[in-house]
């Protein structure tokens, strides 16, 4: 048996956890995501080298999901509904402000790394939210608002991420040129690559039948091309593909790709993504203090998000608004990728400074999907349930 193969001992060690997860499934209706497989690296199933080799696949998976979130960023809804403008703005502002304050004053990070922590963790996890909704086949106001909050908070966190890049450069190197040029390059480069990807996709797909398999191939191929160029130009893949999705939706005047969905197979890519993200988390650096701090961050973040949607009022009843607040709790792959992008700037300090958001993301890998699923179930918007079995909900 080779070094990379799971041993009998590993299997035995893993057994109690699988039993625990089966119990969680029963209690909290955990979705069958391999999010919970966050321990492969700790069990030695995946080596660091294998992780590095798998990174392009993770980039592709995250890119496709981010493109899907970008396509769902529906700003026209905000125009028609001021209460949503209020609640999404409150979500963004409160989440950033409270997490920043927590990291600065309670954890003791420097202002730049506290801002980085806030930028990385303020948004909901698009991949978790979209896949949970897709799996539950949920439809309704709670579902739609969870998607909107997730898409807008992702966009806001990317803006914050770009600004924080400059702040980190300024604080750690005092290179003001780098502090200005790098964020600009990240945004402009992502916009350029995303623009090229969306232009290509729309123009090629235009000559093909709508909703055809050929259009799906074109969409995926253009997305992967954008992923490749983004990696080559060293601009963040998640930002590039998110912008590509936004441009695809906003420039698609003739509805060329509006109804073309990603193939069912993108679930497989998502599984790979979750495994790689889970495996890349620095479990070996875990301490009880770090764990408590991460838990504190998640609590602060939860209060900010639930408080924002509850405070903003509007036509949706308070219990349903609170369910939206629960549904937008997941924090996962995008945060981890952003944290690594930031940490890679100054590895000697960045890695330890960003342990907090990474541990927070790790904890949320376990409970995030369950919370999102719980919110959807409680809202009565899932397809499964009493009615699906022939009863009345």
């Amino acid at each position: 048996m080779g070094n990379n193969s799971p041993s009998m001992l590993d299997s035995l060690v893993g057994l109690p956890r699988w039993l625990w997860e089966a119990l969680l499934d029963r209690l909290f209706f955990l979705p069958p995501f391999p999010e919970r497989m966050f321990g492969p690296s700790s069990l030695g199933w995946i080596s660091i080298e294998a992780l590095a080799q798998a990174r392009p696949i993770a980039d592709a998976a995250l890119g496709l999901l981010m493109m899907e979130v970008g396509r769902r960023l529906d700003l026209s809804w905000l125009r028609h509904n001021p209460e949503l403008l209020r609640s999404t703005f409150a979500d963004i502002a409160l989440s950033f402000a409270l997490i920043f304050a927590f990291a600065l004053w309670l954890v003791g990070l420097t202002p730049a790394w506290a801002a980085a922590t806030a930028a990385v963790t303020m948004a909901s996890a698009p991949a978790v939210v979209l896949l949970t909704i897709e799996e539950a086949r949920a439809q309704g106001q709670v579902t739609e608002r969870i998607i909107l909050h997730t898409a807008i908070s992702s966009a806001a966190s990317f803006v914050a991420f770009a600004l924080v890049l400059g702040v980190v450069h300024a604080e750690l190197s005092e290179d003001w040129l780098n502090a200005v040029v790098h964020p600009l390059w990240v945004v402009a480069g992502a916009l350029l690559v995303g623009g090229i990807g969306s232009w290509l996709a729309l123009n090629i797909a235009h000559i093909l039948p709508k909703r055809s398999l050929a259009q799906v191939f074109v969409l995926v191929a253009c997305a992967l091309l954008a992923v490749g160029i983004a990696r080559m130009l060293a601009v963040p893949v998640f930002l590039t593909l998110f912008l590509m999705g936004v441009l695809l939706a906003s420039r698609d005047r003739q509805q060329t790709l509006r109804y073309t969905a990603l193939p069912e197979g993108h679930w497989l890519l998502a599984i790979v993504l979750f495994v790689i993200v889970g495996a890349s988390l620095p479990w070996q650096e875990f301490t009880w203090l770090a764990g408590l701090q991460a838990l504190g961050l998640l609590l602060v973040r939860a209060v900010a998000k639930a408080g924002a949607v509850a405070w903003s009022g509007g036509s949706l009843p308070l219990p349903k608004r609170l369910l939206v607040g629960v549904g937008i709790q997941p924090l996962s792959a995008t945060a981890v990728f952003m944290a690594y992008e930031l940490a890679s700037l100054y590895p000697e300090v960045g890695r330890s400074a960003l342990t907090l958001p990474l541990f927070a993301a790790a904890m949320m890998e376990l409970v995030g999907p369950a919370l999102c699923r719980l919110a959807l179930r409680r809202s009565g918007e899932c397809e499964s349930g009493a009615q699906a079995r022939g009863g009345i909900a």
Binding site: R72, D74, W77, H80, N81, R137, Q139, G140, Q141, E144, L148, P209, K210, R211, R253, Q255, R258, Y259, S315, L316, P317, K320, E381, E383, Q387, A388, G390, I392, A393
Partner: protein, 384 residues
């Protein structure tokens, strides 16, 4: 069994009108049906000035109903007001609204029954048929001054059911395919045991006896269990015409109301002889013809013992009732119907033409939704 008494027939103003439209709630992302009726109703900030907006059996449907009006113009104003109110609130909830008798490509198992005892009871009683009942119709109420007039008018209007089906037909697509029908909606209705024609009853007395019989046999609990094509509605003091598909536009819905009012006036004024027993023999066949072929239907005449093109009989009918329409000040609303009879494309043909142009049904629903919402949106679409 919860037996609901029939109650007295409430007299209403002669030929007063009321219109109910069942509308589709669609996702603005892909224009499939979406679930949102309960939240939409819960978020309504509306004083009821044009009538009611209420739940229907599944979460993907919403019903608007006008106030009782004496004129067709009043109905048009109410429908316009209800449409605009609904549009405003749907936009706030990011939901689209659409006309048409069926949604062209939704999957019925994905439908969810609305909360409420009545809907719960229907689902328990009819099972999956209740979800398949996610079809969308227009109901037209015509006021009657007496219960006997209501029963007579119910029978008299029964003969013209094919005309209303053909003129309103807007449901050619079901489950993503062309059904070859102009109105496929009524096939979903006909699965219910108490659908079809009103039996040949000649007076209010006979009707109450027949209804008591149905209740005694355990077949019907209340008047709402009768899914007849035309039925008396004692509570409102009206006769309710229930066979129309919801048209793609408010204007077409208004024209159908004008036809109902003018025809009812003409019938009550001229009192043509009715042979309800003979009509009963051909009613289902004629209804099928109208559903399948629309205005190209061949209608069987059980008295003359022949078949006549529906288009031909409708042209004569519209001519015959024009004087009554003039008296009721609704003649202009009959013009679109005359144009349809003269050969202009109806809603079902329009839907097919759009499908042929786009090659997909998502865009068909998107354009149909814009057509219902109003001329501004249509113009915006044209200028794109």
């Amino acid at each position: 069994m919860n037996i609901q008494p029939l109650g007295e027939f409430s007299d209403s103003a002669a030929l007063s009108l009321g219109v109910e439209l069942e509308l589709q709630l669609v996702s603005r992302r892909d224009f499939d049906l979406t679930r949102g009726a309960t939240d939409l109703i819960g978020s309504l900030d509306y004083d009821g000035r044009f009538g009611e907006i209420k739940l229907e059996i599944t979460e993907s449907m919403i019903e608007i109903s006008t106030l009782a009006r004496s004129t067709v113009d009043g109905i048009a104003a109410d429908l316009g007001g209800l449409r605009d109110t609904l549009r405003h609130h749907c936009e706030r909830n990011n939901i689209g609204v659409c006309g048409g008798g069926t949604h062209p490509f939704h999957r019925w198992p994905e439908r969810r029954i609305c909360p409420g005892d009545r809907f719960n009871d229907l689902y328990q009683r009819y099972g999956y048929l209740a979800k398949q009942f996610t079809v969308f119709g227009q109901h037209i109420h015509v006021g009657c001054t007496s219960a006997d007039d209501a029963i007579w008018l119910t029978q008299a209007l029964g003969v013209y059911v094919p005309a209303f089906i053909a003129l309103s037909a807007s449901s050619p697509f079901v489950d993503g395919v062309d059904s070859f029908y102009q109105s496929a909606r009524l096939n979903a209705v006909s699965a219910f045991p108490l659908s079809g024609q009103c039996p040949p009853l000649n007076s209010w007395q006979e009707f109450t006896e027949h209804f008591a019989f149905l209740q005694a046999c355990g077949i019907a609990q209340g008047i709402k269990d009768l899914y007849w094509d035309v039925r008396p509605k004692p509570e409102f003091g009206t006769v309710e015409l229930r066979v129309c598909d919801t048209p793609l536009s408010i204007e077409q819905a208004t024209s159908l109301a004008a036809l109902a009012q003018s025809l009812a006036r003409w019938l009550l004024r001229t009192r043509p002889p009715l042979d309800t027993a003979k009509q009963a023999h051909v009613a289902r066949y004629n209804k099928f013809q109208a559903c399948r072929y629309g205005l190209e239907a061949m209608i069987s005449d059980p008295l003359a013992l022949c078949q006549t093109p529906l288009r031909q009989t409708l042209a004569s009918l519209l001519e015959a009732i024009s004087e009554d329409a003039r008296e009721l000040a609704c003649e202009r609303w009959l013009s679109p119907l005359k144009q349809a009879v003269a050969g202009h494309a109806g809603d079902a043909d329009w839907l097919r033409a759009r499908e042929k142009e786009h090659g997909n049904l998502n865009d068909v629903v998107r354009e149909a939704s814009q057509r219902l919402i109003g001329p501004d949106s249509e113009n915006q679409e044209k200028t794109r």
